[in-house]
């Protein structure tokens, strides 16, 4: 009766069944709305997030929640709203299996810097990369799948990181269904700029240029229509380290992006590093008082600007990361499409520090997360300390 092979739809269904189980949890939640412990359980914050320090997270947020809930029996409108805020999106951010069903791991992406295959060619150090453009469905929010165009099957693509002055060689192969390119930001010859030639499906092209200047850059597809090629997922981070590198710090990449899942030129999902709410249900563990460095990029389409706001702390802003002195000391930074900055800060106090877009709409549509500051965290635990060389 049903000899049908596994279709795209069935595959989607499989991916989504996991979410069904969550509805039951919501009923439990409603029964005890003010119970902070329940809230944390539903939020899944207590799960092993892979950074360690899960117990502290549990206790820390439970305390926060207890303080936020007034003792009054009858909740006011504001109370209802507030008590829901701490829990609902958290629940919405619980991925079946702990991470997006397409296999992409936002924890790994956060701290994964790819130096490529290093080849010495005479005086020149060459970093060689293989990039393949692939069409692929990705899970952008729990249960919500998006037909993406990807570099190497993931959104964002790999984080390229090389010292200034070294040569980058990217062997690009287009295995997708549309013509694509890779356009790098930075200083290089126009013929290596990834506007021309456009690489048709099945074709190849080798991009080769010297990595400069030191700073935080990006790469993305520059085939037309631009808006679609970028918002479908063809982009990634490109870091050029200054000579001698930067001071050791707990380093991570946060690429702000959005997904227009119904293709109405308006994003339904916002995130850093693709997976909506992921760092909210899986807080990022860092050490109290340790230097922290965030490579922050804005690849959001449709909305002119995006922003980053850090709670309970302030950060230095190095615009485009091209100069040694900070440009600004603030807790909220506004960024246009294509802007990227390096942020440096310390968290003085232990506990959960929220970060999110200060466009509340983006925040509540997925672009929200927590740092969990843990005292005396070893250098290789949580977000590891990055040392140059």
């Amino acid at each position: 009766m049903d000899p049908e092979p596994m279709s795209r739809r069935d595959w989607l269904k499989l991916g989504a069944t996991g979410v069904a189980g969550l509805s039951g949890a919501a009923v439990l939640r409603m029964a005890g709305r003010s119970e902070a412990a329940d809230a944390m359980e539903a939020a899944g914050v207590g799960q092993d997030a892979g950074y360690g320090g899960a117990d502290t997270v549990d206790a820390g947020l439970a305390e926060d929640r207890a303080r936020a809930t007034p003792p009054s029996e009858v909740p006011t409108q504001a109370d209802v709203r507030h008590s829901l805020e701490g829990t609902s999106q958290a629940r919405m951010g619980v991925y079946e299996g702990g991470k997006p069903g397409d296999g992409f791991d936002p924890r790994q992406y956060l701290t994964e810097f790819d130096g490529g295959e290093v080849v010495q060619e005479g005086e020149t150090t060459v970093h060689e990369y293989d990039f393949v453009a692939l069409d692929r469905e990705i899970e952008v929010a729990p249960g919500v799948w998006f037909p993406a165009w990807t570099y190497n099957g993931r959104v964002p693509g790999p984080t390229i990181r090389v010292p200034e002055g070294d040569v980058i060689r990217v062997n690009f192969q287009n295995a997708g269904s549309h013509p694509h390119t890779i356009h790098f930001h930075g200083i290089h010859a126009p013929e290596m700029d990834g506007v021309f030639p456009v690489v048709d499906p099945g074709e190849k092209f080798v991009y080769e240029f010297e990595a400069r200047p030191a700073g935080l850059h990006m790469y993305h597809c520059h085939a037309v229509p631009l808006k679609r090629h970028i918002h479908k997922g063809l982009y990634g981070t490109f870091i050029v380290d200054p000579p001698g590198g930067r001071e050791p710090a707990r380093e991570m990449v946060m690429l702000m992006n959005g997904f227009d899942t119904n293709f109405d030129a308006d994003n339904e999902v916002y995130a850093v590093n693709t997976a909506a709410f992921f760092y909210q249900s899986n807080p990022i563990t860092v050490g109290v008082g340790d230097p922290i460095r965030v490579y922050l990029l804005n690849l959001t389409e449709f909305d002119f600007v995006n922003s980053f706001h850090l709670h309970a702390a302030m950060f230095d802003v190095y615009r485009t990361g091209t100069k040694p002195e900070p440009d600004e000391f603030t807790d909220t930074i506004l960024m246009c499409q294509g802007e990227r900055h390096i942020l440096e800060f310390e968290l003085e106090n232990p506990g959960l520090h929220m970060f999110h877009a200060h466009q509340s709409e983006f925040a509540e549509l997925g672009w929200m997360g927590f740092f969990d500051a843990v005292p005396e965290l070893a250098a290789d635990e949580g977000v590891p300390v990055y040392r140059y060389g």
Binding site: S23, A26, M30, V80, M92, A141, P142, E268, A276, G366
Partner: protein, 388 residues
Amino acid sequence: MNDTVRRWTFGLLPLLLLGVMITLFVRFEPMGFMEDTSPPVQELTIDRITFPGEGTVELHVVNGGPEPVTVAQVMVDEAYWEHSIDGPRTIDRLGERTITIPYGWVAGEPHEFTLVASTGVTFSREVPVAAPTPEVNAQFLGAFALLGVYAGVVPVLIGLLWFPYLRDLSRRWLNFFLSLTVGLLLYLAVDGLVEAFEVAEMVPGAYQGVGLLALGVLGAVLALRAAGAAQESSDRGPSNLRLAYMIALGIGLHNLGEGLAIGAAYTAGELALGSFLVIGFAAHNTTEGLAIVAPVADDRPSLWHLAAMGAVAGLPTVAGTWIGGFSYSPVATTLFLALGVGAILQVAWEIGTSTLRSADQKVLVTPLNAAGLGLGLLVMYGTAIFMA
């Protein structure tokens, strides 16, 4: 005997072949290659939104599309929100779910609800003004019964009191009033049709709102014509009393549909039932009483008949508000409004062709009749202003 077998064979053969074709189609899926390349067609309809209490919203959802749909996320006012669903997240074709959202909604302000399917497709509905959904209890039923009586039954009965006045009129003026009745009915038919089209928009795709509407209108016309024809063949001719009852029935069906809409709109917080609105309904419906008694002005129907006709026309308003308040269904509302339209059109036609023509007049549309028809439309238009 052989003939019977032959007849049955030829009667059933096409059906048998159709069955074989469908079986082969399902078994071998010759169109399967198209299904793999075409994107899934998904459709969900949020057909009812209620606010049962502070901090809670309930969405009633129907899958009216050809494909199962999986509700992956629920968005309220552009924010993902926690929720519970009274069943699996994957909703099969024609399946229904109630989604409960603990959300601090704000009375008197608009809210937008969006369901995001696993494919990223979205389905939205906005509530223009959020208000607590009244609890359906004895008090609610009593209030709505009273509303139905005020707006539906009493006015119709008052309208019926024109009976003695109409009885003493000359044939010419009686025809004027019959024409006026046709005008009233035509207005109601158009009014009901527009309303039915509006509600039909909310009918889940698979139930084909407009098709249902056509079915209701034509079904009512055909049923009433068939009933009339059956009676005519047994009786000597069309009875005026029957015509009056048919008008009452048509208006009753119309009022049932209208009651459903009122009850639903009220419980959904989309309607403030001020006394002004009730007065509007009452004035509007009084003319319906006139429409009912005009054809029987020549006869001497008993008071009992008049009361019965008033009840047939007016009481469905009460039933409608109750049903609409309890559980609103765009499908039922569309159907009843359509039935009302059909019934009204049929009686308008019957008055126009048989009653007016039989009054030994050579022409149907005399200046006086035309004036009556125009006045009928105008009266309905005027009284409807109060209901806006």
